[in-house]
């Protein structure tokens, strides 16, 4: 029903008959209306007292277990195991849960087995390299941040891999013989900048290709011509930020598009216009606002707020805490959906963004509910603050061989 429903009129008529406080309204609207369920009241008593709680302990246990063992339901992610490492490690990082040294070392050794002899990382040992698990592996290793972790990455081969997927028009395929879309540019830019192998030549024409993905709606699409979409918009914009070219976007149009993606009733974000809310867009969409804030500031915009992002931070926190938590641990898309590590990662990332405004010099917090709900300020996956620290490990320049020039 979630996927097929296009009309909003039915939902709105039903909605107006409720006359309750907004926070309750939010979850009622989403949960009761479509699932006729009272589970949330029964299982999550914090829901009633308007000091919503982040179920830290439950999430921690869910993550801790998943980092070691996953049921056969995860067979469908057998080609994305570095992603599982990244989603879980990033979630633990946000929750400020330390990663035991032995586990960290085991992750390093596993990711080393996922590294392809021809460069880049694959979805699992013995598979072919692919930009998405490459991104996940490199970022996971940066979260671990030990010398062992950084030493896993074969930078020379990684550069070879990036060249092997680069296309003449500036785009990148996700893997040799694979598909093109804007995620690839972000994955490539992210790993190249983190490991200090980024050269202008590698990203020649990539800027223009990404810019051609900005469409009539103001957001970005996966490839030029398609509908603007939160995931792709984040990837394209973040890639341009890394390349220092974000000012070339129509920032005003992008800003209008992304703020319009916050749902006025649910408080969370939708991925595309006229589609449904989903917890993961708490990151992909809301995460654009810090990027745009910084970009507009750099362009000389003087009227930017010094206290808030340009989205309703409280409403997003309400949506995540009241509607996206599984009482047994883990976070999810919307009530009625099952938990998974992808949604756990991005709901928590979005929660962090909604709680913290600012940059290195300026910081304002807005924590909804209990004090303990506070998460670490999300630095990865852009790792803006930690960049300098990470790049210290990758000081040796990687020389490009003649073939590429």
């Amino acid at each position: 029903m979630w996927q097929r429903d296009g009309g909003q009129l039915f939902k709105k008529n039903f909605f107006f008959s409720f006359c309750v406080k907004r926070a309750v309204l939010r979850c009622l609207f989403v949960h009761f209306l479509l699932h006729s369920s009272y589970q949330l009241f029964v299982i999550n008593p914090s829901f009633l007292c308007f000091r919503p709680a982040l179920l830290r302990e439950q999430h921690y246990q869910y993550l801790k277990k998943g980092l070691r063992h996953l049921s056969d339901a995860y067979e469908c992610l057998d080609a994305s195991r570095p992603w599982l490492c990244f989603w879980i490690l990033h979630s633990l990082e946000l929750l400020e849960e330390p990663i035991p040294t032995a586990v960290a070392s085991d992750v390093c050794q596993f990711l080393a087995r996922c590294q392809s002899p021809t460069g880049g990382f694959a979805g699992g040992p013995g598979q072919h390299a692919h930009l998405a698990p490459t991104y996940a592996a490199v970022n996971a290793l940066c979260i671990i941040g030990t010398e062992e972790a950084y030493n896993v990455i074969n930078r020379e081969k990684l550069l070879d891999f990036l060249w092997s997927v680069k296309q003449p028009d500036g785009s990148f395929v996700m893997h040799v013989g694979g598909e093109v879309d804007v995620r690839s540019a972000y994955c490539a830019a992210s790993v190249a900048s983190l490991t200090n192998i980024l050269t202008p030549k590698l990203f020649e024409d990539t800027t223009n290709w990404i810019l051609s993905c900005q469409n009539w709606e103001g957001g970005l699409s996966g490839v030029p011509g398609l509908e603007a979409h939160g995931g792709y918009t984040f990837c394209g914009t973040a890639a341009l930020v890394i390349l220092g070219k974000e000012h070339m976007l129509d920032l005003k149009a992008l800003l209008r598009w992304v703020v319009s993606r916050q749902m006025r009733f649910e408080g969370g974000f939708q991925g595309r216009c006229n589609k449904l809310v989903d917890g993961c867009y708490s990151f992909w969409q809301a995460g654009l606002l810090p990027l745009l804030h910084r970009a507009l500031f750099k362009e000389g915009e003087s009227e930017l707020s010094r206290q808030r992002w340009m989205f309703e931070q409280q409403a997003l926190q309400e949506y995540i805490l009241l509607c996206c938590q599984n009482p047994a641990g883990g976070l999810l898309d919307k009530p009625g959906k099952s938990r998974d590590f992808y949604h756990t990662c991005y709901c928590l990332s979005g929660l962090s963004i909604a709680q913290h405004f600012g940059n290195m010099d300026l910081h304002h917090e807005m924590i909804l509910g209990k004090e303990e709900n506070r998460l670490v300020r999300s630095l990865s996956p852009l790792l803006l603050g930690s960049w300098r620290i990470i790049r210290m490990y990758f000081l040796v320049p990687v020389l490009e061989n003649e073939k590429k020039n």
Partner: protein
Amino acid sequence: MFFFYTVVLPPVLLDSTVNVKHLFIVLIGCILKVQPPKPLAKDRKEWADLEPVPQDDGPNPVVKIAYSEKFSDVYDYFRALLKNDERSDRAFALTAEAIELNAANYTVWHYRRVLLQALSKDLREEMRYITAIIEEQPKNYQVWHHRRMVVEWLNDPSEELEFIADILSQDAKNYHAWQHRQWVIQEYKLWDNELKFVENLLEDDVRNNSAWNQRHFVISHTTGFSDPAIVEREIQYCLSQIRKAPHNESAWNYLKGMLQDRGLSSPPGLLERVLELKETHCSPYLLAFLFDCYEDALENSNQKENVGEEERKDILRKALEICDLLANEKDTIRKEYWLFLGRSLENKSGSRGPSDKPPEPSDPASGQQEMS
């Protein structure tokens, strides 16, 4: 069937409450469920010569998946084939088993494509195969990419538009389907009937943003948006859809998106038409559009000489009024944004509105704040 006759049937027959209908249901159930499952590769003669390669997860695995016996079996043999780069029919058949277990394994798909070419497999047959897989798993990247490759090899897009239409009939917003559709249309120049297709979809659901996007795609690649007659036709189309469904953001976004390069104030009479709609079909989107018109008028008035200072002030006042209305009443979820836009416009235009001092950039709360 042996199982049915010796284990299931006797207790069923002894139960006097059971009737023939029950028996029939049980029989069908047994036939469907109790078929002996396909034996594992390791137990099949045809694989006897090949040594399976277990996955190398290392001594202390992380994110270890509890694979079923079937899964491990198939992939152990797949790894063996990959290691030897075996190009055979049994390898080809195994890729189908591997895909069924995990259709997102791009390494398997890649290998299947290598085999398709190396063994000169029947690509029409492959089209039938990929059609069935996509119907089962339409939200997977690999299956659509594979289909694209086969279509390219065959150089035959003749089934595509109908196939994609079928997938869209089940999920009218499937991103992969639209991506494939745009590729086919552009590659093989199949523009002719697409606008009609889009209009039919919008008849079914005027809020289908993917269809609005496709509309923009078709027109920008065919007639373009420079011809005033086309622009007028599209404006009429938008406004008529808006009258039917005033709170449809897609229609308003399309209207703005189409006009923004040339300027929202460029089509004659548009502002007036929108102001008329405001009385009966108002929405936050209409108000935002009005704001954009005023902002555009202000920007253009910098170039034009005939717009007097009074008129500029009036346009600015109206624009700021809308910002306030949206921020405080009609679109409060975007309050921070509308306040920013108002401040930004005021700052750019140089002068303040006659009535009030500039609004504060949000509550002067500093440091931590606990929200209840």
